[in-house]
C-alpha cells in the first residue's frame, strides 16, 4: 500500500560482480546477509556502460537513446565543437524520487549522478560529483548545506577525489576513505533526523579505487608487481565499506527493503587504442598540420574537406561521420551514409591488437541498441577489445596502441555487468540468483514496491521472484 513501504538503494559506483560476489563475499558480512536473505545477480549496465548515462537509466527505467544523452558530454547540434554536459537538466523524465514526490512520498537522495543543479522535489538532496565545487548550491533545500557543514565540523565536503591523477597513491586512497566516511555520516544523520519513504545514495569511491589501483591487485594485469604495498587495497576498502554499510543498514531499520546496486562493473585495462591516430593513418581523418607530440584533436587543425570521420576518447569511442548537409563542411553524400558507415564499422572491427591478434572490438549502431535516438547520437559506438582497451582521442601518439595514459595512471576499464542485490524482509529470497537483469529494471522494481505503475513507455520490467 502506498506510503507504508520504505525502500533504500545503496549505490556503489562500478562495484563489480567478480570481486563482490565471486571473490570477496565471505569477507563482507553485511552484503552476505543481504544476498543470503534476498535475491541477487549480475545487472546488465546501459550502453555505454558508464556512470553517465547509467545511473539515469537506472532511476528512470529507460535507455540512453530515449534519454538523449550518450555520455558526460554530448553534441548539442551538428556543428564540430558544440558540446554540452549532461547535467540534471538533461534528464527530462521523472526519476524514482520525482515520481514518488507526486504521490506525496518523501525521499532522501545523496550523491546520485546527474542531480546537479538540484531540482525541487519532496525530500532532501545532496548533489553529485558533477557539482562544480562546494561553493555551488549542492543541496535541496538550500539550508541543508549549512547543516552539512556543521555535521562535518568544518571539514570540507568532498564531492570527489581531488587530484586523482597524482602518483601519490596514499593520498588518493585516503581521500576515497574520507569521501565514503563523510557520505555515510550525512546519510545516517538524514535518516535519523528526517521523515522518509525512499532513500538512495551513490558512493563513487569504488570506481576511483578500481581505476587507481587495479594493476596493484590483479596478478593478470600487465603492470602488476607482486608484493607491492597496495596488493590488497581493493579488498581492504570493500571490507571497511561493508562495515559502514552495516551501520547504514541499522539506520535504515528492520522493515526497509534494501537494494545494493552498481551502475557497471570493472575489469583490467590492457591498453588504449588511439582512435583518431588510426582514422588519420587509414585516410578517414585529415589534419592540416600533423602534431609531433600527443595533442587533443580539438587543438589540431582539421581539413574537413578531406575528413570523413573523427572520434572521441574515453572508456569507449564515439565516432562521428562528416555528412554533407548535416555537418557544416560535410563531404559524405547523405545517400552514401549507410554504405560508408558499414565500411568504417567493418574496418574498425578488423583492427588487430599490437601483436597482430584479433582484438574482438564491438562496433554498435545507435538505432540498433536504443528504442529511439533522441538528441544527437554518435554515428557509431566502439568498445575496443570488448572493453579490454580504452579509447584515446589524442593524435601525435606515434602509434595506434598506447600503454601509458598521458593523463596519469588508469588501470581499469568498465565492464558490462554491475551488481544487484535485493533484500525484502517481508518477502525473503533465500539467496536465489537471478539472471537476465537490466539496469532499467531498477526503477519499475522500486515503484512496484510502493504499488505505483511506471510510465507506459518504461523499458525495464519489475524484478519479481
Amino acid at each position: 500500500m502506498p506510503g507504508k513501504r520504505k525502500v533504500a538503494i545503496i549505490g556503489l559506483d562500478c562495484a563489480t560482480p567478480q570481486l563482490l560476489f565471486d571473490r570477496y563475499l565471505s569477507d563482507l558480512p553485511t552484503l552476505k546477509r543481504l544476498v543470503r536473505g534476498g535475491v541477487w545477480g549480475r545487472l546488465r549496465s546501459s550502453d555505454p556502460p558508464i556512470t553517465v548515462p547509467a545511473w539515469a537509466c537506472m532511476t528512470t527505467g529507460v535507455d540512453a537513446g530515449v534519454l538523449g544523452f550518450y555520455g558526460f558530454r554530448n553534441r548539442k547540434d551538428y556543428s564540430y565543437d558544440g558540446m554540452a554536459f549532461a547535467t540534471s537538466a538533461a534528464v527530462k523524465r521523472d526519476r524514482v524520487w520525482d515520481r514518488l514526490s507526486r504521490e506525496g512520498l518523501r525521499s532522501i537522495v545523496i550523491g546520485v549522478p546527474q542531480t546537479y543543479p538540484p531540482r525541487p522535489f519532496n525530500g532532501d538532496m545532496v548533489t553529485c560529483f558533477l557539482t562544480p565545487s562546494v561553493e555551488s548550491q549542492f543541496t535541496h533545500p538550500p539550508e541543508l548545506k549549512g547543516e552539512i557543514a556543521g555535521l562535518l565540523g568544518g571539514e570540507e565536503y568532498l564531492l570527489d577525489v581531488k587530484d586523482f591523477r597524482t602518483d601519490d597513491k596514499k593520498f588518493v586512497l585516503n581521500q576515497c576513505y574520507k569521501m565514503t566516511e563523510q557520505r555515510m555520516k550525512i546519510a545516517t544523520h538524514l535518516l535519523k533526523s528526517r521523515p522518509w519513504d525512499f532513500f538512495m545514495m551513490v558512493e563513487m569511491a569504488p570506481d576511483r579505487i578500481y581505476h587507481g589501483f587495479w594493476s596493484h591487485t590483479d596478478p593478470t594485469h600487465p603492470k602488476y608487481v607482486a608484493g607491492n604495498e597496495y596488493e590488497n587495497c581493493i579488498r581492504d576498502y570493500h571490507r571497511w565499506l561493508d562495515a559502514r554499510m552495516g551501520e547504514l543498514v541499522t539506520a535504515l531499520g528492520p522493515e526497509t527493503v534494501i537494494l545494493v546496486v552498481s551502475d557497471h562493473g570493472a575489469k583490467k585495462m590492457d591498453g588504449g587504442i588511439c582512435v583518431n591516430e588510426w582514422l588519420v593513418r587509414s585516410g578517414w581523418l585529415a589534419l592540416a598540420d600533423k602534431p609531433s607530440k600527443p595533442t587533443p584533436l580539438g587543438k589540431c587543425k582539421i581539413d574537413w574537406s578531406k575528413t570523413r570521420a573523427w572520434g572521441e576518447g574515453g572508456y569507449y569511442a564515439r565516432i562521428f561521420l562528416n555528412v554533407r548537409g548535416r555537418e557544416p563542411n560535410g563531404i559524405i553524400p547523405a545517400a552514401d551514409y549507410e554504405k560508408v558507415r558499414n565500411q568504417l564499422k567493418a574496418a574498425i572491427e578488423a583492427i588487430p591488437d599490437h601483436r597482430g591478434k584479433p582484438l574482438g572490438t564491438k562496433v554498435l549502431k545507435p538505432e540498433e541498441i536504443y528504442r529511439k535516438t533522441a538528441g544527437v547520437p554518435p554515428d557509431l559506438l566502439v568498445y575496443w577489445g570488448n572493453l579490454d582497451w580504452r579509447s584515446v582521442g589524442q593524435v601525435g601518439m606515434g602509434s595506434v596502441y598506447t600503454f601509458e595514459n598521458d593523463t596519469g595512471p588508469d588501470d581499469a576499464n568498465h565492464d558490462y555487468n554491475g551488481i544487484f542485490v535485493m533484500y525484502d524482509p517481508a518477502h525473503p529470497g533465500a539467496g536465489r540468483q537471478l539472471d537476465g537483469l537490466s539496469i532499467m529494471d531498477v526503477a519499475p522494481t522500486v515503484l512496484r514496491l510502493y504499488g505505483i505503475a511506471p510510465e507506459a513507455d518504461v523499458q525495464g520490467k519489475p524484478i519479481t521472484y
Binding site: 558508464i50 556512470t51 555520455g71 558526460f72 558530454r73 554540452a84 554536459f85 547535467t87 537538466a89 538533461a90 543543479p117 560529483f129 558533477l130 562544480p132 565545487s133 555551488s136 533545500p141 539550508e143 570527489d160 577525489v161 587530484d163 586523482f164 591523477r165 576511483r208 581505476h211 587533443p296 572521441e312 576518447g313 574515453g314 572508456y315 580504452r390 584515446v392 582521442g393 589524442q394 595514459n405 593523463t407 596519469g408 588508469d410
Partner: protein, 84 residues
Amino acid sequence: MPRPKPKPKRKAKGRDKVTIKIPRELYRRLTTLIEGTGFGSVTEFIIYVLRDLAAGGKLEQEAGLSPREVDLIRNRLKSLGYLE
C-alpha cells in the same frame, strides 16, 4: 452571531494577490535574517527578492552552468579519465 461582511475595498485588493506557502523553517530563518534591515515583514522581503529576480527576465542559462562551472566540471572529468 453573523460574521460582518468584509468591506468591498478590501475584497478588491485581495484579488490582486495570491497566497504562496513556504516551509515554516525557512520562514523562521527569514524572520531572523531581516531583523534590523528595514524590511517590515518576511512577505515584504520575499516580494523584494522575487521582483529583483524576475526583473532579470530569465533564470541563468540552458544547463544552469556558468562558463567557470563548465571548466571546473570538465577538469574534474579529465582528471578522472572520463574525458580527454
